[in-house]
Amino acid sequence: MDAQSLIAKRIAQELRNGMLVNLGIGVPTLVANFVPKNTHVFFQSENGLIGTGPVPEPGMALPWLTDAGGKPVTALPGASTFDSAMSFGLIRGGHLDLTVLGGLQVDQHGRLANWMVPGKMVPGMGGAMDLVAGAKRVIVAMHHTAKGRSKIVRECSLPLTSDRPVDLVVTELAVIGFPDGRATLLETQNGVTVEEVVAATEAELTISPELSKSITSMAASGAVETPSTGEAI
């Protein structure tokens, strides 16, 4: 499985029945491909739609039914549409259970930068600031590194999207959370060692007690090498 699908599939495990979910463009969009069986979630598109369906069959596209990028989509039975104030009322008002967004950087307290690179890329924040400030749960889907440099940093050099910390970062190497405001390695992706994650991460990384324990028990059974302790590295 490629890195993007790996990330999307892991995030899809966070989906629960009845959730209202907003997926950003790029890797987050792929999460829709991995919704667990018997789990019904509502996908919101911030241009005014709940119940976004897949890309229409050839010849069936309607110019008035698109995703937030302006690309034709379909609507599932039970869909609803609304204006932009309502769309962001759902987001800002705490009705959105989960948003999955791409990231440029996440700092070790969980703060996300994902909307501009000064002097280079200034697309505008679109709905990103509202999504991070307003969603009940924010998950960042991104590659662990870019051009060999960690995207999980001590301090963001890029402008923040919000001062509200995200809840989870899922990369092709690891799942990182921010309990007590500290970047904490919760899981490694299949076949990745804690050392590999730590080596690829600039931020101070706490190893979660659960992960330490499971690794220790695996080590005891000879499955892996003894890892570093559960202390901050």
């Binding site: 241009n47 698109t66 302006g70 679109g126 709905g127 600031m129 402008p159 001062d163």
Partner: protein, 215 residues
Amino acid sequence: MRTIDLQDAVSMIPAGATLMVGGFMGVGTPEPLVDELVRQQKGDLTVIANDTAAPGTGIGKLITAKLLRRVIVSHIGLNPETQQQMLAGSLQVDLVPQGTLAERIRAGGFGLGGILTATGIGTVAEEGKQKIAVDGRDYLLEPALRADFALVHAFIADYLGNLSYVLTARNFNPLMAMAADIVIVQAENIVPIGVVSPDHVMTPAPVVDYLIAKG
């Protein structure tokens, strides 16, 4: 509400005017009004909209024609010409978080002075803005937005000017229809009074000033 020719409607708009233009990446933008603005070369405009679409689409046409002095938008990422004009200094781009933009426009139309939102706190979006605490939580005071004209796209208008929008072409249109001194509507379909149920009217007729007659 009066019906009006496309050409006459755009003739009313002076150079330098502030326009709200409906649409989201071009979807739900009144393209005939945009095309006529280009044809009449109305310049020096300020546009309030979600985004500048892409070259060749919606507001992107106004960008390409260099008719805009300033845009107040949430996103310009799909239009490299907007970025070029911004970097060249010929276009002022005010970026506003999308939900904040929607609410500021609504506030302008609903007679509210502005909105109190936590969006943007701790980011560059808070620069120069007043922070107000309510019940121990900080909010940014984001002032209401209004325009001289709103260019609105509707799916259905009845003869009185009652409007309905369709699917994701609704977006900013009903908000803008409330927030401008003069509201000009281009409708895909114009229908007799009573064809639209009262419950399905999304913009009531009295707020509409002009409806573009079919050519």
